[in-house]
Symmetry: C2
Subunit: 254 residues, 2 copies
């Protein structure tokens, strides 16, 4: 009934690739609205009782509170930005994911994802203000959730797959807590290059039929650079954190 | 600062076409989860305090309450399913859309969209149950919002554009309240055929590169049939309702 994750490296890589279209599509949707700096300024939300928060912060908070109540953050790859969210109000039936940590917040890179994403807005949205603050922040949250899913799925499931494949190599490095050596061992520069070429191509392809009178187009180089400078490094950081927390003992798992 | 809608028929048609990709993409995302009937059964939500509602009803309600607070339903083409939603907690600055009615709920086809969509789930989702109820209803709500935007945008802006182009033809029919004649006058069978061919082709194209080991594929004929049997007829119904409520006097607008 409940799907289980296979640690087959090819299938996991295929799943990561499948998440790329969603991330790119969400970026393209957000780019239909201007930069709209006002939506990110503290205390300028125009929101009744919004206090010092920005409209963006309020939207992210409301979304995560709703999602928490429905059980979204029970799943390893769905990590929230806010830490004081309500408990789920439904019982979520989860498979045994077969991961080596019990607390999925061992890896939670959302604060860094949010920071990098907000800094990137002027690089892919048209400059200036179109007044569409509500739609802008709604789309921001959708981009962030898509990126988060990809980074955290990569952090947990790719790292576990790599460990299972080469446990004998990882074990001594993890025992020593040698962060740099773990990072070097799990890095695959040729795979990264392939991903970058592929996301660039997908960003091109997904926009190849758009009607430019009504849809703004995002430079595929931006998508490539966001993957290269944010998504890939954060995923690797997550893999290191996961592996160091995992320990090297197979018996460590319950 | 605030964008205004032009009533240029070509631009409005292009905007409708631009919404097609979103609708199709949302259908494809939902189809990654099984039918999951349990999520639609009343009283089976497993949600604390959920009462007799289904999990689907609860999710739609939570989403619309959040969206209402952020001002989504101030925009003509965003119509909610629930009628007793909270008031917006921010001041939304809207353009004068130039429409001929003040109450955008003059046309609200969400109840019929929801009914038709729920009936269609077995036609595009894999049969059976995968336990992913939370994700299923989250995606349901996204499909519904995409369809709603398209149907209501078409109801308001396409009808107004048609009226402006042929006011002398519409006026006497509207004065008589001749629903059938208004429907006949606004119907464009050749345009409908073009839309159907185009959405079929887009559904094919959007899935042409998917990795079938990890992504389920939706039959493009389903997308065509949903447009033919639900989206197009409901949009035309909305156009009739709008035009009859609009009246035939130019002075009727404020």
């Amino acid at each position: 009934m409940v799907p289980t994750i296979s640690f087959d490296v090819d299938l996991i890589a295929a799943r990561l690739s499948g998440l790329e279209e969603t991330i790119i599509a969400r970026f393209l949707d957000r780019a239909q609205f201007h930069e709209n700096r006002m939506a990110y300024e503290k205390g300028k939300s125009g929101f009744e009782g919004g206090g010092e928060a920005s409209l963006f912060e309020l939207r992210l908070r409301y979304q995560e509170e709703m999602d928490a109540v429905f059980g979204r953050f029970c799943v390893p790859e769905e990590r929230p930005f806010y830490r004081d969210l309500p408990a789920p109000r439904r019982k979520v039936i989860l498979p045994d994911y077969g991961l080596g940590v019990d607390d999925y917040d061992t890896v939670n890179l959302m604060p860094r994802i949010v920071e990098a994403y907000l800094a990137a807005i002027p690089s892919f949205c048209p400059p200036g203000d179109d007044g569409q603050y509500g739609s802008s922040v709604e789309h921001d949250v959708m981009v962030l959730q898509a990126i988060s899913r990809r980074v955290h799925f990569g952090s947990y499931f790719v790292a576990e797959a790599k460990y299972r494949k080469d446990a004998a190599l990882y074990r001594p490095l993890i025992e020593k807590g040698d962060r740099e050596a773990v990072l070097a061992l799990l890095s695959r520069p040729e795979v990264e290059q392939r991903i970058l070429a592929r996301v660039r191509e997908k960003a091109d392809w997904l926009q190849s039929k758009v009607d430019r009178r009504i849809r703004k187009v995002v430079d595929p180089e931006f998508i490539l650079s966001f993957y290269r400078d944010v998504i890939i490094p954060l995923t690797k950081e997550g893999q290191v954190r996961y592996l160091l927390a995992r320990g090297s003992s197979e018996a460590g798992r319950t």
